[in-house]
């Protein structure tokens, strides 16, 4: 009984672990890379949004002067635009394929 149970566990483990190796390699790797790049950019965009909101809250709660806020906000928004452009490029490349 114990031997059969162990055999079943081994079979399930081998099946689960080898699944990516059995799949079509080339397309999966490519898809994985693109999905990874998009996820990266989306995370970077979300982090940048949070930074912009943080700076605004700092200004509204009296920790940042309007002048400093303007400079920081401008920089952060430019960075956000860069990220969104990169995201657009990667997304459109993926759609074209």
């Amino acid at each position: 009984m114990a031997f059969v149970l162990v055999l079943v566990v081994v079979a399930v483990a081998v099946f689960v672990i080898s699944a990516p190796l059995r799949a079509r390699r080339g397309s999966r790797e490519q898809e994985g890379r693109e999905a990874g790049r998009i996820a990266e950019l989306e995370a970077a965009r979300d982090a940048k949004y949070r930074e912009i909101r943080d700076a605004e809250l700092d200004m509204r709660t009296g920790k940042l002067s309007a002048e400093d806020y303007g400079a920081i906000d401008g920089t952060l928004r430019s960075e956000a635009v860069e990220i969104m452009r990169a995201l657009d490029t990667v997304s459109s490349e993926q759609h074209e394929k």
Partner: protein, 739 residues
């Protein structure tokens, strides 16, 4: 099922080795499928460990004493709830729990990052597998939880009575969760160093794991303190015990890390510092695990010393330290900061200073904790160190940390103008000065300078946090015209990391005010009194009303009911008891073994917001020893005679003798009530202890808020003000997601 359990561990070890190979090959050859396959090996490892854990726990629940660790760590008289948790009171079982938690958290981390940081993940995965290999290897080679005995005893030794406490059942899994969660950012930091991707990506993907580690370790530490306060019977909650310190050190470094990563995320600064902090935290997590298991430093919390395990842990710690140093030196050029500190009066400067103080505090605790070992190595004599060795260093540093935790929230990033500084500091500073002035007016409080400073610093933090909430709500109301409660709820919901952090700061301030008050103004005394007699403490009259006693199959209890009065007013009634668990040592005598086993105390506690009244009894059962010895002699003789009888009569005779033994034990125990003698009581009156527990709950709540994931910005209702048109036309549409 023991065979299945052991086989699962061996298969788990194979999965670990495969995982290392597949991850490294995938990283070097750029084969994503191998990395994916390796990740799945981690899921498989977690699954196998979970099944092995369940098999072992079922053995504990069913009191299957053929398993060696069930026989040594449980018994039929151990309550069901404690039997379920007794698995991690044993060395082997706790190592298995370690593997289960490490593989589970690793699986979660690898699942969440399966499409992120592809250059870092394979190496991080390999490091996590290497750590799992170490712990599964210990279970397979040196600490087999599935070892069985063909000659199983009919009764187990039972769970250590001191561990029969609700918090102790949650405390170890929380600490282990903290340690194992810390290893996730540790592994990703190593991955970032190997791959050379040293931006903020590795921090962004593991920040929550560091925060969860901080939270779990913090909860674990507090539960341990609570257990110490209500179970150990010495009257305190923190003894600077090596095992307590082992959990505190990584928690302190993790606190520093959680703050300093914000500087890297926002400014691209402190890269060397951040990787060093997390590498140190991870290594300290393993040092902590080693201290619990090694017994190299005397501690009531440690397992029995095992030289094989000790050598293995020392080897792992050495590899971690040398490997970390080598990687940081190797990548020193890539770890240069992208920006410089603009001003010494800025949030990043405060964070940096706070980091230095936290690391200094950790260094002090490390040095004093290990001083007995260092001293023994140099002089040949082990020196024991206690709380007085820590206090002169820890107290001033703790005050500075609390003060900085108030300054951080009210100061801005990059630079701050004098006008803003005045505006933000005025209210908290006035509150702190008022508190100091009022308390200094009381002569007895004013003479405790450090306590006074802690109260002032704590008041500053609480006022600063309150001010931040007030201003945040006002700012939100100005934009949205929401009612204050709605504005408060939405403010916190939208800025969980920030306001969760502020709540943590306030909670820590409350907790440390409680610590300062309860350690500086505690009143304690020991008194030996009989029923009807009284003793005075801190203006209270404590009267020993009556003795109590109880005998069950599990334990014998000797207790007391105490009435506490102030003047003519009844304040509270305290119930305290001292329990004895039977020893399995036959040389103690057939009756004596019931009175000479392990002991535990139940504290009589009246907890209040301003003051705790705490009492514990030591019944001193010496007056019973003569009767116990007499009973042992008589019963031993009768047992010898019974055993000499033919088998049919023997069982009956033994049964009768055991019944008589039980009656004798009950009668002896009841003598504490019928012929009471003087018992010794430790009585303590401590102010503000409850603030420590409440502060901890507040801090944990804040931690949970900070940890809770933000909703993705894209799902929010667009509502950007029209003034934000400076962005390029097309992406500007998405900038609406900001608000």
């Amino acid at each position: 099922m023991a065979v299945v359990g052991r086989s699962l561990l061996i298969l788990g070890l194979c999965a670990c080795l495969y995982g290392i190979g597949a991850s490294v090959y995938g990283a070097r050859a750029g084969g994503r499928v191998w990395v994916d396959s390796g990740r799945r090996a981690m899921y498989v490892l977690a699954g196998m460990t979970a099944i092995a854990f369940v098999i072992l726990d079922v053995a504990f629940l069913s009191s299957n004493f053929s398993y060696n660790i069930v026989a040594t760590g449980s018994s039929t008289t151990t309550p069901f709830f404690y039997r379920a948790a007794a698995i991690w009171a044993t060395q082997q079982g706790s190592l298995l729990l370690w593997v289960l938690l490490l593989s589970s958290w690793s699986s979660l981390a690898l699942f969440l990052t399966r499409r992120r940081v592809p250059e870092i993940v394979p190496y991080a995965q390999a490091v996590l597998f290497a750590l799992c290999t170490f712990f599964v290897g210990l279970n397979v080679l040196f600490a087999n939880p599935f070892a069985t005995s063909s000659n199983a005893p009919t009764e187990g030794a039972g769970l250590d009575p001191l561990l029969r406490h609700t918090t102790m059942m949650i405390h170890p899994p929380m600490l282990y969760s903290g340690y194992t969660l810390l290893l996730v950012p540790f592994a990703f930091a190593v991955g970032a160093l190997i791959s050379g991707r040293l931006g903020a990506e590795w921090i962004q993907v593991t920040r929550r794991f560091a925060l969860a580690a901080w939270l779990c370790l913090g909860i674990g530490i507090l539960l341990g303190a609570r257990w110490s306060y209500t179970e150990l019977g010495w009257g305190g909650y923190w003894a600077w015990d090596p095992v307590e310190n082992a959990a505190l050190m990584p928690w302190l470094v993790c606190t520093a890390f959680i703050h300093s990563i914000m500087i890297q995320e926002k400014r691209g600064m402190l890269k060397v510092w951040n990787v060093s902090l997390i590498l140190l935290s991870g290594t300290l997590a393993i040092v902590g695990t080693f201290l619990v298991r090694s017994g190299i430093l005397s501690s009531i919390h440690a397992f029995v010393s095992d030289p094989t395990l000790n050598i293995s842990f020392v080897a792992l710690i050495t590899v971690m330290v040398i490997g970390s140093l080598w990687l940081v030196i190797l990548r020193k050029d890539s770890l240069k900061s992208e920006a410089r500190l603009d001003s010494l009066i800025s949030r990043e400067a405060v964070f940096l200073f706070q980091n230095l103080v936290l690391v200094a505090l950790t260094a002090v605790i490390f040095w004093i904790t290990f001083f007995p070992l260092i001293s023994e190595a140099i002089t040949g004599t082990e020196v024991s160190v206690g709380p007085p060795a820590f206090r002169p260093f820890v107290v001033p540093l703790a005050i500075i940390i609390v003060l900085l935790s108030g300054i951080g929230p009210i100061i801005s990033w990059r630079r701050v103008t004098v006008a803003k500084l005045r505006r933000n500091f005025s209210f908290p500073a006035i509150v702190a000065l008022l508190v100091l002035a009022v308390l200094a007016a009381f002569g007895s409080i004013g003479s405790h300078v450090f306590a006074l400073l802690m109260f002032g610093a704590g008041a500053f933090v609480i006022a600063a946090v309150a001010q931040e909430f007030y201003r945040g709500v006002r700012a939100r109301q100005a934009m949205t015209a929401e009612s204050p409660p709605v504005a408060l709820g939405r403010l916190v919901r939208r800025n969980r990391r920030r306001y969760g952090g502020y709540i943590v700061h306030a909670g820590v301030a409350f907790a440390l005010i409680g610590v300062a008050a309860s350690t500086s103004f505690q009143d304690s005394r020991t008194a030996t009194i009989g029923p009807g007699q009284s003793v005075m403490i801190h203006g209270y009259k404590v009267r020993y009303v009556r003795a109590t006693a109880g005998a069950t199959a599990e334990k014998l209890s000797f207790g007391a009911v105490l009435a506490v009065t102030s003047g003519n007013k009844h304040v509270t009634t305290l119930h305290t008891s001292y329990s004895l668990y039977p020893s399995q040592d036959p040389t103690q005598g057939p009756i004596g073994r019931f009175f000479n086993g392990s002991a535990e105390s139940r504290v009589g506690l009246r907890a209040g917001l301003t003051q705790d009244i705490w009492a514990v009894i030591n019944p001193n059962i010496t007056p019973l020893q003569g009767l116990i010895k007499k009973g042992d002699a008589v019963l031993q003789k009768a047992l010898t005679n019974a055993l000499a009888q033919p088998p049919a009569a023997r069982a009956k005779a033994l049964n009768q003798l055991y019944q008589l033994r039980d009656i004798a034990i009950r009668e002896l125990t009841q003598r504490f009530v019928s012929h009471p003698w003087a018992a010794t009581f430790l009585l303590i009156v401590s102010p503000l202890v409850t603030w420590l527990w409440l502060g901890a709950i507040i801090a944990a709540l804040g931690g949970l808020i900070a940890l809770w994931p933000l909703p993705p910005p894209r799902r929010r209702r667009p509502s950007v003000p029209p003034s934000r048109k400076e962005l390029a036309p097309e992406p500007e549409v998405r900038a609406r997601e900001l608000v």
